[in-house]
């Protein structure tokens, strides 16, 4: 089913959007929806993911770097990297705490990982909108 809001785009533009939208959505949460004129959806996705991410950082959650050690740490990196630019910002500014001392720190670590995974879900949704699979 053709997507009404993208129906005015030429096939090449639509093909480009199918690549650009998920990439933009990964880099900045909600941007993939915003560039397809779904402003409210994009804003809600950005707010939800940013709240989770920054609450996680404020709770002294851990931000995993690239590693080839423990499997859970590798998966933690995969989840964290789903945050896109927020992840790179956190790594560059050395946000988050390395050791987890308190229960809230552990919650913070999970918040950051989950915000990244939710952002990946949102990026896939942006791709589906771009290819017309979803309105």
């Amino acid at each position: 089913m053709a997507n009404e809001k993208n129906s005015t785009a030429s096939p090449s533009q639509a093909g480009m959007l199918a690549i650009v939208a998920p990439l933009a959505a990964w880099l900045v949460p909600g941007l993939g929806h915003v560039i397809q004129r779904r402003f409210i959806r994009g804003g809600l996705i950005f707010a939800s993911i940013a709240i989770l991410f920054f609450c996680g950082i404020a709770m002294q959650g851990r931000v995993y770097g690239f590693n080839l050690g423990d499997l859970l740490q590798m998966l933690g990196f995969v989840g964290d990297s789903g945050n896109g630019l927020l992840y790179f910002l956190a790594r560059a500014l050395d946000w988050g705490a390395e050791p987890v001392f308190r229960a809230t720190s552990d919650y913070g670590t999970k918040y950051v990982v989950c915000s990244g995974l939710l952002n990946v879900v949102a990026a896939v949704d942006a791709h589906h909108i771009a290819i017309g699979k979803k309105s």
Partner: protein
């Protein structure tokens, strides 16, 4: 900055944010999105309450 949330408030914030994203991404149409978001939120909160009570009884 050091944010200290209780178990309940941490679970509540997570439930709200995850439900919003699930609602938007898993359904089409505003009404269906809202309904599915509320459905997910109810399951998140219900699951937390159920798990809390189960742990309470296990602990004795």
């Amino acid at each position: 900055m050091n944010l200290q949330l209780s178990h309940a408030s941490a679970a509540l914030i997570f439930s709200i944010c995850a439900s919003v994203v699930f609602g938007i991404t898993q359904r089409e149409g505003t009404r269906e999105m809202v309904r599915y978001g509320l459905y997910c939120f109810a399951w998140f909160v219900g699951g937390v309450l159920a798990a809390g009570w189960i742990m309470h009884f296990i602990k004795g």
